[in-house]
């Protein structure tokens, strides 16, 4: 067992790659919870996004014939965002308009994400577990040897951007108001329902993006259960990051590091791979136990609003 420089460099880049989907999803979850809606459906939405990206790109490749199509993965990314937003919208309708228990409604979507991909995959590929591999993956940007997927850059750029949106724009103010005290916001003429719809759909779009990253950035196909709890880990990271973009950046980096470590240790003889895989989940439990008490969620989160 020798941990040389190459190990640490690999670990660093692996951390960035592992953090990206968590960061995207956690930022999305932040918008949703700041508006007062818990969205544990993010796990399922990641899967739907990944499925959409992989299937759309593969089907278009099939239709267009062989050859590189540099614009193709971007179509996949956009469609994954659209589907992610759509699925989140379903959660929004059920939990905002029909005042369902937000956790149950979201769990239904997660259950749907366990079953529905098999139907789609059977329809297109005749097998229930994974899609065909795509040729046109997302490109890598950056100098040779240190190149990263554009979505990695985007995820980290979204941190200051969402900070600015949340704390420096009227929209952000309204979003936060709706999550803290919807009655007061309503009195001031803010459309509570609309703000919540926007918050939830935004979270779905970002989670869909994370799914696209997994399917055609990280891998080149959809594999059943490929989200592996990332949606839930993101939510834990969001709580740990105190619903604040900067906090979320650091907490997702922690989780990303844990997963990256798990991956980097897998080939070595330091720890058995099956146990190392549980690492991020254990970290999540510990983090939630240790720091939950100190952070304060938006006051109205989880409660349906009624005029």
């Amino acid at each position: 067992m020798n941990l040389d420089t190459a190990f640490w460099i690999a670990l660093f880049f692996s951390t960035l790659r592992q953090t990206t989907p968590l960061l995207l999803t956690a930022l999305g979850g932040m918008f949703s919870e700041r508006s007062g809606v818990v969205n544990i459906a993010l796990e399922g939405i990641i899967l739907f996004g990944a499925l959409t990206a992989a299937v759309v790109v593969e089907r278009l490749e099939y239709a267009l014939g062989p050859g590189p199509h540099p614009w193709l993965p971007w179509v996949g990314v956009l469609s994954a965002m659209a589907v992610g937003g759509l699925v989140a919208w379903v959660h929004a309708v059920v939990s905002i308009k029909y005042r369902a228990d937000q956790i149950i409604s979201a769990t239904a979507i997660n259950l749907l994400a366990l079953g529905a991909p098999s139907l789609v995959l059977t329809y297109f590929y005749g097998n229930a577990t994974n899609s065909k591999e795509v040729v046109n993956r997302l490109p890598l940007w950056g100098p040779e040897g240190f190149a990263l997927s554009p979505l990695v850059y985007l995820a980290f750029l979204l941190v200051p951007l969402s900070w600015w949106i949340l704390f420096k724009t009227p929209f952000g103010l309204r979003l936060r108001a709706v999550g803290e005290h919807p009655e007061a916001a309503d009195t001031l003429g803010v459309n509570v329902y609309r703000m919540r719809y926007i918050g939830v759909v935004l979270s779905g779009i970002l989670a869909g993006l994370a799914g696209a990253y997994l399917a055609i950035g990280f891998l080149n196909q959809f594999v059943r259960g490929m989200s592996a709890g990332m949606g839930f880990i993101s939510l834990a990271a969001m709580i740990f990051g105190k619903w604040h973009p900067l906090g979320i950046l650091f907490s997702t980096l922690l989780f990303g590091f844990a997963s990256a470590l798990a991956i980097q240790l897998q080939g070595t003889e330091i720890l058995p791979a099956v146990l190392v895989q549980a690492f991020p989940y254990v970290v999540t439990v510990l983090v939630l136990a240790g720091f939950m008490g100190k952070s304060r969620p938006p006051a109205a989160v989880g409660k349906p609003y009624e005029k």
Binding site: I40, A228, P272, A278
Partner: protein, 610 residues
């Protein structure tokens, strides 16, 4: 009142329109169906015949015998809906419609029997009524429902039973959406000559899918198989339902099940001893391990305020890792040092050693007919036990004691009684239904008893309805949360007894094939069953039927079994949204308003009569 009657007329007319459309588009009966789903489709508006003609010797004259009366019935119904005071007449028409459906069923069966009677082997196989006939049935039920709804007190009647109405309506909606999914995903077999025939084929495909899904209801081995698949669902459904009752959302049933399975395996493989000691210990170990795994997030919530939802999910993943760690290899390296484990059975597949025979839960044939003779022990024990419980008019302790006593007496008496000899065919004995099913029934009874008949259960429900109020009322909230999660986990852990000790996954071992996602299905079961023991039992059975039928759907139509998972998820979603029914079905306050309004109207009517 007039507007109400007008509305009834419109509703009947709309339903009648849909009925007629279905009569026109859908097949009425399928006397013969090939493998792969294509069939001879009969409709009074023209048949679809894949071989160009009706099967040899088949007479389709019965179809017109039902069609014209049905047409007359529909016309009469539509007319009567617009007369004054229509509700009572619609009752009559509804019953008449049921009679028409029965007539069609009998005539059709007779026509098939006529062909099959003379032949050595049945010529017509896989026959059934089609959507057109079922539409008649559905419209009759719809008429009865409307009639009840528009009689005095009808709405309040429906609202009071919203615990049944919402799940059933959600099931209906999910089935409709499932039908659309099937229609989109699957090309109908056979070639259509016209647009109507294309519709006929598609609608028949959907009908056939659902017929297969519900086929375990009418075939004995499928029936047993549905009970088998319902067994773990009852446990996990109760595990989730208990959490819901206490205001907690237990998504951790998969992890609790895994821990239960591991514990049951450890006791079942490594603890020698007589059966009467080892089997109960193995079952207890499963409950205890699942309970402790459930209590952990409960404790984290009580102590640190960490939300149980994310923690239970994380513990699911951790349990899965632990499970793989134990049975996927026997040799691991820790920082260069080697660790040896004894749990994995040698060989390629990840599985444990076999459970010792003493720790196995008996197969259903051993329980029902030990040594080939039908035994009255279990039914008598159940009967006398229930009688003892329900006929004793004293305190709860007395009732339970009498129930237990009755059970024991019944068991001994039944064991001594001589039973007739029976033998079961291989298709029945191969179904691995086992004594865990009885454990599941006991768990249902325990749930009912604990939640609705004890102080602890009262506190639990108070916690679920208003945690703050319960706390001020003297409930130790923190401890209660841990206890609820412990009990829920123990119930989920017991599900493992079915798999590991009862051989529910083909072998008496812990295997990688352990279907722990059954824990998630428990959510659907609990919601569908509205967190009541009877409801959970029925919902688990429903899903057991669908899961069994799903295999048939996959086998015969090539549609992925996951269709059932999608249906379950949709049911959860729709129940969460209150079935998209009006607010008074989900909101108790508004439900009370409905009752008060109806009460006032009734009083007004009585006043007028005077």
């Amino acid at each position: 009142m007039l507007t109400d009657e007008r509305r009834l007329g419109v509703l009947v007319a709309l339903g009648g329109g849909v009925l007629f459309l279905l009569w026109y588009l859908a097949p009425w009966a399928v006397p013969h169906r090939l493998f792969g789903g294509e069939g001879v489709l009969l409709s009074p508006f023209g048949h679809h015949l894949p071989q160009g003609s009706l099967p040899q010797g088949y007479r389709d004259g019965w179809l017109l015998w039902t069609f014209y009366p049905s047409l007359a019935w529909l016309g009469l119904t539509l007319a009567l809906a617009w007369t004054p005071k229509p509700a009572r007449k619609l009752y009559l028409m509804g019953v008449l419609g049921l009679g028409l459906f029965l007539l069609a069923y009998l005539l059709f069966q007779a026509s098939v029997a006529q062909v099959n009677a003379g032949a050595e082997r049945p010529i017509l196989r896989r026959y059934s009524l089609g959507l057109g006939s079922y539409a008649t049935l559905a419209f009759s039920l719809y008429l009865l429902l409307l009639a009840r709804l528009f009689s005095p007190g009808g709405l309040a009647f429906l609202v009071r039973r919203r615990g049944v109405v919402v799940p059933l309506f959600s099931l209906l909606l999910a089935s409709l959406l499932g039908g659309v999914i099937v229609a989109v995903m699957k090309r109908a077999p056979g070639e259509a000559q016209s647009l109507r025939e294309a519709w006929m084929l598609k609608l028949d495909l959907i009908t056939y899918t659902y017929q297969l899904l519900y086929s375990p209801l009418v075939n004995p081995s499928g029936f047993l198989q549905s009970l088998l698949l319902a067994t773990p669902l009852i446990f996990t459904g109760l595990a989730v339902a208990l959490g819901f009752r206490g205001g907690l959302f237990n998504i951790g049933a998969p992890g609790q099940l895994i821990l239960g399975a591991i514990a049951a395996m450890l006791v079942g493989v490594y603890l020698p001893g007589p059966r009467w000691l080892v089997l109960p210990l193995a079952i207890l170990a499963a409950a205890l391990a699942g309970g402790l795994w459930g209590a952990l997030p409960g404790w984290l919530k009580a102590r640190f305020g960490a939300h149980e939802v994310i923690n239970t999910i994380m513990l699911n993943y951790i349990a899965a890792s632990l499970f793989l760690f134990l049975i996927s290899a026997n040799e691991y390296k820790f920082f260069g040092r080697t660790l040896y484990l004894p749990f994995k059975y040698p060989g390629y597949e990840a599985r444990s050693h076999e459970i010792r025979p003493e720790a196995r839960i008996p197969h259903w044939t051993e329980l029902v007919a030990p040594g080939g003779e039908l035994s009255f022990a279990l039914p008598l024990a159940l009967l006398l036990g229930l009688l003892g419980y329900f006929l004793t008019r004293k305190s709860l302790g007395h009732r339970v004691l009498m129930g237990l006593l009755g059970g024991v007496v019944g068991y001994v008496m039944g064991g001594l009684l001589p039973g007739p000899g029976v033998s079961f065919g291989p298709d029945l004995t191969s179904v691995r239904l086992n004594g865990a099913f009885l454990l599941a029934l006991l768990a249902l009874f325990f749930f009912h008893f604990y939640v609705f008949r004890t102080v602890g259960g009262y506190e639990l429900r108070a916690m679920g309805l208003a945690p703050k109020a319960a706390e001020y009322g003297g409930v130790m909230a923190g401890r209660k949360v841990v206890l609820i999660m412990f009990l829920a986990g123990a119930l989920a852990g017991l599900a493992a007894t079915h798999y590991v000790l009862g051989g529910g996954i083909d072998e008496y071992r812990l295997k990688q094939a352990l279907p722990y996602s059954v824990g998630f299905d428990g959510i659907a079961v609990a919601l569908m069953g509205q967190n009541t023991p009877l409801g959970v039992g029925l919902a688990a059975w429903l899903f057991g039927i669908l899961l069994t039928g799903g295999l048939q759907v996959n086998l015969q139509l090539g549609i992925s079994r996951e269709l059932v998972a999608v249906l379950q998820a949709l049911i959860v979603l729709f129940i969460a949204a209150g079935g998209f029914l009006p607010r008074y079905f989900t909101d108790p306050l508004r439900a009370a308003e409905v009752e008060v309004r109806e009460e006032a109207r009734k009083r007004e009517e009585r006043g007028e009569a005077r």
